[in-house]
Symmetry: D2
Subunit: 283 residues, 4 copies
Amino acid sequence: MNEKKSLRTKVSPELQLSIKHQNRDSTRVRVGGFEIGGNHLVVIAGPCSVESREQLLETARSVKESGASMLRGGAFKPRTLPYSFQGHGVEALKLLQEAKAETGLPIVTEVMSVEDVGLVERYSDMLQIGARNMQNYPLLKRVGKTSSPILLKRGLSATIEEFLGAAEYILKEGNWRVVLCERGIRTFEPLTRFTLDLSAVAVLKQISHLPIIVDPSHGTGWSSLVPQMAKAALAAGSDGIIVEVHPHPEKALSDGQQSLSIDEFRLMMQGLREIAKAVGRTI
Amino acid sequence: MNEKKSLRTKVSPELQLSIKHQNRDSTRVRVGGFEIGGNHLVVIAGPCSVESREQLLETARSVKESGASMLRGGAFKPRTLPYSFQGHGVEALKLLQEAKAETGLPIVTEVMSVEDVGLVERYSDMLQIGARNMQNYPLLKRVGKTSSPILLKRGLSATIEEFLGAAEYILKEGNWRVVLCERGIRTFEPLTRFTLDLSAVAVLKQISHLPIIVDPSHGTGWSSLVPQMAKAALAAGSDGIIVEVHPHPEKALSDGQQSLSIDEFRLMMQGLREIAKAVGRTI
Amino acid sequence: MNEKKSLRTKVSPELQLSIKHQNRDSTRVRVGGFEIGGNHLVVIAGPCSVESREQLLETARSVKESGASMLRGGAFKPRTLPYSFQGHGVEALKLLQEAKAETGLPIVTEVMSVEDVGLVERYSDMLQIGARNMQNYPLLKRVGKTSSPILLKRGLSATIEEFLGAAEYILKEGNWRVVLCERGIRTFEPLTRFTLDLSAVAVLKQISHLPIIVDPSHGTGWSSLVPQMAKAALAAGSDGIIVEVHPHPEKALSDGQQSLSIDEFRLMMQGLREIAKAVGRTI
Amino acid sequence: MNEKKSLRTKVSPELQLSIKHQNRDSTRVRVGGFEIGGNHLVVIAGPCSVESREQLLETARSVKESGASMLRGGAFKPRTLPYSFQGHGVEALKLLQEAKAETGLPIVTEVMSVEDVGLVERYSDMLQIGARNMQNYPLLKRVGKTSSPILLKRGLSATIEEFLGAAEYILKEGNWRVVLCERGIRTFEPLTRFTLDLSAVAVLKQISHLPIIVDPSHGTGWSSLVPQMAKAALAAGSDGIIVEVHPHPEKALSDGQQSLSIDEFRLMMQGLREIAKAVGRTI
């Protein structure tokens, strides 16, 4: 006949201490003119990989028009096999800058190595740490020394505590501008690429002060599931979403199966506006 | 450079065939005066276990007042250890009937054995097959021979295909009134009791004609997570929810940690109405 | 700077109590003239399903000759879809009896429903509870009332504690003759059918008094992996193995991919004798 | 009625191609005077972290005496929280060198960052890539450019294909001296730290040419399970084991619960000799 316990009591004492030390209820992270973690929801959209000027600019213009707040696009791609397309690197970074110049959308792109941090910083507004690097501690420490906002993706099988532990590596270096991103965890279910863990969003809102967004594209692996799961993410309390959009998903060099077309993205945004209103937020 | 594939193409040929044979786009299941799978969302609420007349009637009246459409309550409880409280059995069934007589709420309760099917049918409006029995084929066949609506819960680690395979055992016997229920799957995450798999809702809407509802109480194990996850479930396309409510969760004989209090349930319902509107449905 | 803890301290207090109550170090279960859990290792072999007299008798004779101690064969088959082959039922039970009469091998076969317990008991020496029924409590209680030895398979995603909890349902009814069987758990790995959890064997030897055997056929899904994993099982402390053998695996009605041929079984047995000797046991 | 398929046919075409290209049946990796992947089994032992000269030298001498072939010890420790002990760094590397000078045991130790590769190479005979860094591609490429043997640990939830994909990043740079290490995967089971996946050993022996060893210390998290699982690993076809040994496990700065004492290690080695003989190998 115990009292109901708070979720915070289940967190490890060491992590509880650090959560308490931070002494914040909720952190807001400014990227460009935009603030993640406030009442306005962030929508980050763009292709998995930057493939060409045409592909990127067409995507950037159209997602901007449909209401996206930021542009994503991969320059350095972590791939399971070394023989797969690895991204266009610096050329891609330059195209992202060009897309920003034209549309005004701030850029987020992944940085995979300590040596590239300075380079990627120059060409982007927010640095993404990918799921495979969530516990790459030298990289976490390095971006913790920058003044860039960081998008930290959850590892494929990281517990929520390990996820917060990884964030601590950045915070400890003095960089408080960390946005968490749930992107699907590994389970036994074969129909979807991963299992999108939306309860992690609700849990993190109760035990952490950091903003959290959701990636339903990687989280499901199927573009047809993205709109429903994006809505569900916002309803669960997510501070925004990051989704893959491609002008011709069937021709994408990577992840075409999970990319929304430009039209699908526009339609999805209409649905998201209704949900945002229902949870008292704007988009 | 392939075309994007449909999720249905990933389903096993045998199950695809049966999906096709059924030749239905979407099935609606009537329970009492209520239809599950239509535009109106179902909210099933009540205690984990029926503990006493006072507990049950107080809960029934209050959830009815807050807008619940059906009453749940356990009479026969499947427990991990034989020494744990196993439910009050027939006495509990009688109390459920009494609660129905007073409030008009249709009753759903679990049946665990073939021998009890007739008994439980007499006292309830919908038979629940619990997660542990999802592949108890004699039980599935037996309820497939009744004319009762069936609430079929997903097994803790059943794939979506296996879940539909289990439903087929009921359908094959001639009972088409099956409602699926996602209730959390087993993963490595220790903070939550299970991981609520809302992408299963979106997937099932694309590959099956059956209604599906979500149980965020078992799915998370924490009442503080239930309202957010209930909203997310509806946003993901769920046809309703089933939640645990107890007048004094801290005194519950089972599952108190995940039970909403009467006030928490009322508050949650307000939030759900907004989401229902946002997805063009009513509650 | 704590002392090292014993695994038993991590087990839930309720289960610890029941383990203690049983007041046994190690239980031996006699089946036919054979004792499982003693120094001699049990090898149970036979086809997934009993398909025909020829198939069964050929298998029985040859596995006996190669040193098997018991014959397995499915009469009632739990299948994911109701349209799949469900086993030959009573006809299969009769063939199993015939095989026993000829070879002297005791029979183990699965019973799926409470109503069939009496029937299956008459035709077999040991009742198998399949993985899908590990938490089918009415069935567990029913076999707990028989005097038959029980082979209880671990559920696909049952924790070790839940596995022991299921065994308790049988023990509590007065039947102490329970043999546990690890048969693979569900993980994210797609190359194998399940992930054979041999650490469960070592854990169970430390926290339970019951014998435990291993099923590397279901546990891996590939006959080419069975001999290595059978050896590993014995090295981990297993009291025996249960494997699928078929005279023509490529023509099997079910599970052909994981069935050893008669020759493969004979070869495997030679390797197992060496391992048995290495761990101070006989086979 | 298909023929039985080979496991290799289930591997992705791209990886099949690379496996074929390598055109090797089995690779042997020489470390110091020792060859991993041949008939003689490797036993790598030592403390989780190098804590002090006394701790390391006492361990080194005793594991050598009991028959270990190599010494392990952490200098740079990847820890979930930045506030935990992070290893003694260069000082630890120097102590490892001293232990080698005295005992002749070759050294394996983890390198966590690209910048440290040169440093760690100077002080060790084999570079370990930890589980968290299995897909840290810049690090894999960097060690692929060295001439050091590499011990590549499987990620906590890496599929077997992803594991081989990671190895390809090293092989592609020209370094063929890669030894794989299974160290437990993440599952739902709470009693053990991870679930040691010994079927991965058997699978890898069929689809890859690289040697593979097993880490039962991390794989189980309990020293009492290590001897049984080490035996099982060798029986499953592993080319050796890597285990944690500490003179005073109850005082260890990290991982004490899973460390064998010096006496426990000696006893275990006796059991392993029997198993080695049973599988026709030496230790």
